[in-house]
Symmetry: C2
Subunit: 139 residues, 2 copies
């Protein structure tokens, strides 16, 4: 398995007023701002079917995450005991994929989506967008 590797290619980038890690809330619901998902026009056809007011899951690549950490202090608080990264939402993890539940507030020119709330840095690569499933299992 050590030989297995896969290549991700971003489908777009986040435009956000958040310009430094210190400015980013730990979670979207902790005061994160509106942000734009700027999708590469080559992928715009994949957005058909999304509409304003839809709730979606946005997957990002947290490119400033440290991939060699397996233990972290939750929320970066030095008084917290170390925990395995897979029991936390730390951006430091082997594959630093961010998962964000947002609402689409506006769609411009087929490939720019204003969403809320999003806690990632300006310039963060976007990997995927998925609808929220309305089943019990999704909740």
């Amino acid at each position: 398995m050590a030989d297995m590797q896969y290549l991700l290619r971003p489908i777009g980038l986040v435009e956000s007023p958040l310009k430094s890690k210190d400015a980013c809330p730990k979670q979207g619901y902790e005061g994160a701002p509106d942000a734009w998902l700027v999708i590469d026009p080559a992928f715009a056809d994949g957005l058909d079917g999304l509409a304003e007011k839809d709730e979606v899951l946005v997957l990002t690549w947290l490119d400033q995450g440290r991939r060699n950490l397996l233990k972290v202090r939750p929320r970066g608080e030095m008084s917290s005991p170390l925990r395995g990264v897979f029991s936390t939402r730390s951006p430091d993890r082997p594959n630093p994929i961010g998962l964000h539940r947002v609402v689409i507030k506006e769609i411009q020119s087929r490939s720019r989506l204003k969403v809320y709330p999003l806690e990632v840095l300006d310039g963060t690569p976007i990997l995927d967008i998925k609808p929220v499933l309305s089943s019990v299992a999704e909740k």
Copy 2:
């Protein structure tokens, strides 16, 4: 942005009785079986803090997904109109990352986790495990 690319390295593999795509339910809650998350021992420290009965999100790499499709018929039904992949949960998408909400039923020898329900094929690479957040925003 066309130049940006990132390398994923799986943290483990799924062991499942599901041996063919046709056998896989479309969603976990549609009759998917128990499966084992077999984590590479090199990443076992990252599991500390996870316990039986925890609900977690498992991210997988759907390595049989077709990455060049931007429109699909939801659930593979030929009578459905084509939709953009980002408004569906199709495994065919530019970055075929699977997202699965499961319960941990059992933990064996620190790096084998029995989970339920999981609808992916035997041998599917595992990218990440994240706790379900209990906030309203996660629901």
